[in-house]
Every structure is written in C-alpha cells, then in structure tokens.
C-alpha cells in the first residue's frame, strides 16, 4: 500500500523461534503428548511466537532494516531466540 507521503506500508510477520540447540520444554511436552492422541512419528516440535504488525517505510529494504533492528533490540532475546521476518 502506497501512503500519501510516497512511502509504502508493509505487512510484517515476525516469527520468533528458540535458537537451534536451545532446549524447548514446550515443544518437548507437545511432542510427548501427541502419541497419546494417536499421532505417531512426530519429531522436532518447536514452539515459537508470531508477531504481526504494519510498518511504513520508503522501500522494502528500509522496512526490513527497521524490523531487523526491532528484533535485535526488543522482539527477541538474542541469547536464546532468533527471528524470521516476512514482509508483504
């Protein structure tokens, strides 16, 4: 969506995930529970969170840079989490 100012409004989805190698007790609990419901063969369950918002920026690169900065400073804890950012 192009705004009056000439900049563009992007739909942003930030998927926050635990870093590889960081234990995920929620994922492990879900994985242990699924066989009890008859779902066999499920492995590698990882639980994250999804954060959605819109952001206005001159172009996609600028929007991505801004969202990356948000992720590094606030939306994730870099000690244990990373994020996958999707812009539309």
């Amino acid at each position: 969506m192009v705004c009056e100012s000439g900049s563009v409004r992007f739909d942003v989805q930030v998927e926050v995930r635990l870093r590889e190698g960081v234990a995920d007790p929620q994922g492990q609990t879900i994985e242990r529970s699924l066989p009890h419901l008859g779902f066999k063969g499920v492995e590698g369950v990882r639980v994250g969170k999804s954060i959605r918002f819109t952001v206005e920026a001159p172009d996609e690169a600028a929007a991505r840079a801004e969202v990356d900065d948000m992720c590094a400073r606030f939306l994730t804890n870099p000690v244990i989490e990373d994020a996958e950012v999707t812009l539309r």
Binding site: V22, A23, P25, Q26, T29, F74, N77, V79, I80
Partner: protein, 226 residues
Amino acid sequence: MTRVGVVLFPGSNCEQDALEAVRYLGGDAELLWHGDSTVQGVDAVIVPGGFAHGDYLRPGAIARFSPVMAAVADHAAAGGAVVGICNGFQVLTEAGLLPGALQKNRGLSFLCTTVAVRVESTDSVLTSEATTGAVLRIPINHFEGNYTCGPETLRELQGEERIVLRYVDNPNGSVDDIAGICNADRNVVGLMPHPERAVHAILGSTDGAPLLQSLLKTGGRLRATA
C-alpha cells in the same frame, strides 16, 4: 544505615516482602517507582520478584525500558549494589546488566517450593557475609528460572567464580546448576531464590538473612572506593 531502594514496577509482587526483610535486618528501605528516572541516592537497589509489566513479550523485556532502569544501570556502573531476585534477575539479564537469559523450567512446571542452594563464592555484594560451601534453604517461586547462556559466557562465569549460588538438586534445568550469578565487578547479583522470604523463623527459614545482611553490611559497596 544502609539505604536500600526496592523498585516497584506495575506487576511487581515481592516488593513489600523485600522492604520488610531489609527493615527487619536493620536496614533502611524505600520504594523506587519504575517511572522515575532516579534511584533517589540509595546505597543499594533491589529489583524484586513478580511480573513486571505483566511479563508481556518475555519476562523483563518491557521492564528494561522503564525510566528507572537507566538510573539503575548508572548506579551499577558507579559501583553501587544491584540485586535482582527472581523476576528481578530476569529484568537484569534483559537489561544487559547480567549475561545470559532465564528460560522456561525444564519439565514445564511452575515451581513453588523451598530448595537447597550452596554458596559458591563470597566475593559479591550478596554473599560477602555468607560462608563458602554453606547450604541455604531458600524458597523458589518461578516458571522461567532455567538459566542459560552461550558456552563462552559460561566459561567466563565459571573461570571468574561468578556463579555465586548453585542448586544442590537442580529443580529447573539451569545450566551448571546455576541459582545466582554476579557481574564482573561483583556488585550486580541476580538469583532465582527469594532470600527475602527466608529471614525469620516464622517464615520457615532464616537462611536468606546472611545474603541480605551482606548487602546491608557492605553498605551497597563491596570494596572501599578511593
């Protein structure tokens, strides 16, 4: 008399216990409002337990931006004592005053019980009056107390004897049984157990007293400053 400031965030719930414990042990205690950009000249700061800002996003993630936290960081940088208990420990890691992070407990259980912790170093503002090797019975009360950090940070903590308290029987999956750590200058300490809940026989244990007494005795200063 050592003046201790206890930070009150929206959602803190252990601040009154901390005030009472400090006063009972002979210190002067006052609340510090999270929205004020000052620690009011206190000698030592306690960041208490609870759910600061509702623990939204992550425990401590929002609290770190409260105006008082810049003043707490300045206080720490000037050598003043800062102790984060439980949620306060989470706030201090998010604020970058202590390394690492607190994850959900192994086994995904909220833990509310009394545990045994061993004093591993007496070189910190919270353990100077304790005895190395002493085992203290202190309550824990947390869901996210599983301390974790990168391998390099862990080596640093171990090598510099900055792990000040370890669980005797690890309840939450914490790396290297860590219950409490300090920063490189040893004036900032974070711990998951609640010493303020173990200062009087009526509470079931007095083992938290030597920890808070350390804070009072040092007057918030571990070493005399020039």
